[in-house]
Structure formats: structure tokens, C-alpha cells
Symmetry: C2
Subunit: 364 residues, 2 copies
């Protein structure tokens, strides 16, 4: 097979110089229309494709974004990261960007990877997920001014610092939406099943429920009696619900901090003979869709789009921090409640299109 065509080959065929070919590709506006036409014809004829690595070497940009992907996905909601990745890949492709994956044992190792990726011009920016309280990776990235954005607010730091750009989903809005939906359907004693945490996401989601309840006039001790805490996981939810049903606590409906807990709750109430006891989850995971569980959707496509907007503005070149508008460096996405059977007293139709799900290996 012959050598791959290069800019020189195209130039020769079109009767112009290399640089003109380069201009046609990178700044077509400055090339005379008919020259441009000749060059484009030559490109087509030869089937020329720019050599990405050569361009990277020269320009020191890669049009690639790095993101860490760890071995095990944990739990039903662990797939949030995966869905975010899918959305990112798609939105990135629309801008001519690509995603590159890497793994790391710990934060320190991850920082090493950052360095290698940056020094090798492998990535223009990285996306940080699973941010922890006072995350040291963030400090490193800021200090070495490597472009990045985090999915998840930098808990423990200043949310308004433009040097630490982030995108996140408004958990407060999510659970209050869910709660108001149930209030709107006439329920009053709406319980909340959440994590034990008293900070961050766990607290925020609980606050969303509490606030919506307060608006409906339920507060104080009555509210406190409707709140449960447990670690994530289907069996944990089952236990609590079974106890709760036995106690005849008078709970009419349930908002849960995650789909895992919601699924456990849903199974428990149904098996106890309450097929229409309303339950709402959080994450809108595949399971929620599959079993007809109402759930708060994180709108990961919007999260992905916002992530790229912060990093690249409207184009596909990284926006330098000093040129960025401080107001555009953070984005809190409003989630959306997806209503399904599980939150309706009367059975309703399945959401359209949810019945046929495919196996990855099946014929299209």
C-alpha cells in the first residue's frame, strides 16, 4: 500500500504550497475561494486526512479530554459516571473532541497521570469526578494551571472561586420536585429515606425534601418522624420499610436519596401487599426505567454539555482562565422528575419505548 498522502502531496496536486493547504484546513476564510476549491478537490481526490500526531506535536494541543475510569462500578447508581461518560463522548464529538481514559490507584497516582498526559500533549484538559472533601487533586491542577472541570461541587472549598470550575446537579431541587409532585397528588405524610451523611449531597437532598414539606406546613417533630437514614443498598431499604410498615407509622409515600434505596423500598411495599404505595428514587438509572420507578433524572447530557462549555467555550480550543468570564465557570443543573408507575396510586401505562431493551451483542 502506498504512503499516506500528506499536505505536500495535496499541495503539489493543487499547484499551491503546503501552507496554503494548511490554511484551507485551519483558517479557510483567508484563502481565495477558487484556490480553496482547487485544494479541496485535491484533498478529496487523494483522500487526504491530516496526521493528528503531527499536528499535536506542532500545536501542542490534542483536542482530547482525559477522564479517570476505575475498575469497578459500584451499585446501581455507580452507573451515573458511565452515563456521564457516554454523554461526554457524544457532546465532545460534536466539537471534534475525543475522550481518553485512564486509571489510577489513588489521588497521588492520578496526579502523576495528569502530568504524563499533559507533558505528552495527550490531553488538553481533564475532567474530575468523584470529588472528595477538600480534594488535593484540585489544588495540583490549579497550581500547575492545567485546564480542568469537576463533576461535583468542590465541597470544602469556595464554590465561587473561578479557578475551580465545576458542574453539578442541584440535589435540593431534585428532591423538592419529587416531594411537591407527591404533595400535588394529595399525599401529606411523605417520608424521606436518605444516607446518614450530614454534609454535601446527602444533606442537600434531604434539605430539598424538608423544605418542600415545610412549605406544605409539615415541620418540626412531625417532619422529623418521617425521616430515616441508612447506608445505600437495596437490603438496607427493605429492612427499614418492613419495620416501618409493621409500626403502622402512617407514612403515605416515600422520597429516596437513591434508586437503590427506592428499589428496596418499592419491592418491600409491594411484597407487603401495597402495590400502589408511591416511591420516588434518584438518578433515573436503568433499573428505575426497567421496573417503572419514578426517579429524579440528573440530565447528564446537560451536565456533559455544560462541562465542555466551561472548558472550551463555544469552540474546541481550551479557554484560558484569564480570558474566561468568572460567571460562566460554574453550572448547577436543574434535574427533572421522571414520573412512572411507582408514584401513581392508579396503575398507568409504561413509559413508551422502555419495554424493549437490548443486549449489547444482539442484532440491531
Amino acid at each position: 500500500m502506498a504512503q499516506l498522502p500528506t499536505v505536500s502531496d495535496v499541495a503539489r496536486l493543487a499547484g499551491v504550497s503546503r501552507q496554503t493547504v494548511s490554511n484551507v484546513l485551519n483558517s479557510p476564510a483567508i484563502v481565495l475561494p477558487d484556490t480553496r476549491g482547487r485544494v479541496e478537490a485535491a484533498i478529496d481526490e487523494l483522500g487526504y486526512r491530516p496526521h493528528a500526531s503531527a499536528r499535536r506535536l506542532r500545536t501542542r494541543t490534542s483536542s482530547t479530554i482525559g477522564i479517570r475510569l476505575d475498575p469497578e462500578t459500584n451499585g446501581i447508581s455507580g452507573t451515573v459516571l458511565d452515563r456521564y461518560l457516554h454523554a461526554l463522548t457524544e457532546k465532545a464529538a460534536e466539537r471534534g473532541l475525543r475522550m481518553m481514559l485512564f486509571t489510577a490507584r489513588d489521588h497521588h497516582d492520578e496526579v502523576d497521570q495528569f502530568r504524563a498526559l499533559r507533558d505528552g500533549a495527550d490531553v488538553d484538559a481533564v475532567i474530575l469526578t468523584a470529588t472528595s472533601f477538600r480534594d488535593d487533586r484540585i489544588d495540583w491542577l490549579v497550581e500547575h494551571d492545567m485546564p480542568f472541570v469537576t463533576f461535583g461541587r468542590p465541597w470544602g472549598s469556595d464554590f465561587n472561586d473561578p479557578a475551580v470550575p465545576w458542574v453539578d446537579v442541584d440535589g435540593f431541587a431534585g428532591t423538592s420536585q419529587a416531594t411537591r409532585h407527591l404533595l400535588g397528588r394529595g399525599h401529606r405524610r411523605i417520608g424521606y429515606l436518605g444516607w446518614p451523611d450530614d454534609w454535601g449531597i446527602g444533606k442537600e437532598r434531604r434539605d430539598g425534601w424538608a423544605t418542600a414539606m415545610a412549605e406544605a406546613g409539615i415541620a418540626g417533630d412531625e417532619l422529623a418522624d418521617l425521616s430515616w437514614r441508612t447506608d445505600d443498598g437495596v437490603p438496607n431499604a427493605r429492612q427499614i420499610i418492613e419495620r416501618l410498615l409493621a409500626d403502622e407509622a402512617g407514612v403515605e409515600a416515600l422520597v429516596c436519596v437513591s434508586d437503590s434505596l427506592a428499589l428496596g423500598a418499592m419491592m418491600a411495599v409491594r411484597e407487603a401487599g401495597h402495590p400502589h404505595f408511591p416511591v420516588i428514587g434518584f438518578d433515573n438509572s436503568a433499573v428505575a426505567r426497567a421496573v417503572g420507578l419514578s426517579s429524579v433524572d440528573q440530565r447528564l447530557d446537560q451536565v456533559a454539555a455544560a462541562s465542555l462549555q466551561i472548558l472550551f467555550g463555544d469552540g474546541s480550543r481550551v479557554v484560558p482562565i484569564d480570558e474566561a468570564d468568572a460567571a460562566t465557570r460554574h453550572s448547577l443543573i436543574e434535574p427533572r422528575l421522571v414520573v412512572r408507575r411507582s408514584s401513581h396510586l392508579a396503575p398507568v401505562e409504561e413509559e413508551a419505548g422502555s419495554t424493549r431493551t437490548g443486549n449489547h451483542n444482539r442484532k440491531e
Copy 2:
């Protein structure tokens, strides 16, 4: 900030030539130990990192593997691809390889991406998933001898063709394992809930059940009466099971082609008041783990390892097709049944470690 150090800087500091530095990095064996020591010291002192793009330009290799990732994950089992990706990323990292993602609208577009990725030396090889019957992408890859491996057998082609390397999971073995497990626990009338397909994976998994049943002396009409077909999806399974229970068909246990169907079946039997009716699924998805559903695990880490083995042998450079041993171009992985509560008559303990699952944003 100063320029990044290059091989020349290292060479100057170590008092050797550029090429020697290059040799230390790429074929350390041919460099005299003490020269190598000096060079390594210089590398450390300067914090030198090779510039990946420069290397790619020169060598036309990238140590990167491409894989297509589509926008939507469909269904509970759609996460199989994600888990494969996680495993790949990890196993690749062990060999110094990285994964790069791309999307495509259709097969034709995907082939275009292959071309761009190859021509730009962006990837050394690609991994094909969701292979279809007589897949035209495979033809293109073979014709343009671009290294690749498929996850999923090339249905409709010659499975033994060394030009079409593949890794897959033995569905037959999976369902027969599941069936034998139930037989071993004393059940005889074990039903099978599968897809309507009469080819490929769907057929193979059904055959696994049928064969195991035949070994136990159940065949012919009796066997046929125990087999159901439906499209994937929780509600579909529910419907069938509800009918089946109403008919008093005398089914004692159920093997399902997927976790979606198994989950639907499990929920239906429990809500009908049969908490210990044994159900086994396929894929060992997060949901299965969460709800205590026995399921056939695809061992995606082994699939990933086998994929890389085929492409890269024991190293991290692509094995040319003509040097490859035809016998090592295909790999059928034996899946493993993970037994949980759902397949036991008497309730047993939850699998250890499965109760606490995390949200991607939570504190570590």
C-alpha cells in the same frame, strides 16, 4: 514556566547523545549499565517525560486502543459494555496502553472514524462491540488490515477464520451451569425464559438450558412446555410469569436469558406470594447484586484480558497478523454462576460487601 525538558536536555546533562537517551527508554538492554544509570539520573533530575505526540509521529504507533461508545445505554444489561470498558481500561493500563473513545451514527460513519483514527496514528487497534450478523465493519477492517478484535463472535461468518479475531462468553456453558445448579438442588421442572431469537446468543443460551435438562432426562414435549419467549424487559417477564402462575403450570424454578427478564420474574413471583421461587439471571449486573439475584457472570475482566492478549500478545505492540498463531486468535470465556438468595429455597446471607454501594459523588 520554563520549557519542558526534551531528550536533548537529558542527553546534555548526562553527557551522552540523544539516541542513547532514546535507547535507555526503549531498549535499555543495549545500553551499558553505568551509562544507563547516568541517563536515568538525569531523567529524574529534570523530571523529563517523553512527548507522546512526537513519538507517535515518528513511530506511527500510539499505544492507544479505540472503542466506540454510543450515547444511550439501553436497559439493565446495556451496562455490560460499560463494565467491559472499565476492565479494558484497567488491563490496558497494566501494559502501558490507553483507551480512546469515539461515537458514530452508524456502521458507515464508524468506518470513517476508523480511517481517521488510523491515518492520524491516534490508535493502534480498535475493539468492535455489538457485532451484528455479517458485520460489514469487519470486512473493512480485514481488507485494510487494521488491527482489531471483536467482543462477540462474528455471527454469520467463519468462527475459525484467524483474520477475524474475537473474544466472547460461552452462553451455552452459562445457562447449562445455571440449570445444573437448580437440578442439583432437587428441582426438575425448570423453566426457561428467553428471547424470541432463533440464532446467535439467544439460541445458544436456550440450548445450554435444553441440553442440561436433557441430561437430566427431561426432553421432548415436557421440555417444550417449559420454554417461553419474549423480548427483553422487566414488564414482559412479569406478564409471562403472572400468566404462568395462574395456569399452575407446575414450574418449580426459572433460568432467564437476561437480568432484566429475571428481575421481572423475581418481582412477579414474590408479589404473588412465592418468596423462595428460584430465579437465575444472566449478566450479573449491578441490579442482580443489589437485589440478591443469582446470575451468570460474564467475567468481563477475563474478556478484557483476552482481548488485549489477542491484539498485543504479551507486550504492548500490536502482533502482526502473519506472525500470530492462528490458534490464539479466538477466545471463548467460560462464565461463572454467582449464587445469591434468589436461587435458594431457604433464605441465605447476603453476599458480603454488597450492601454498601456508593454514589459517584460521595465522600470516599
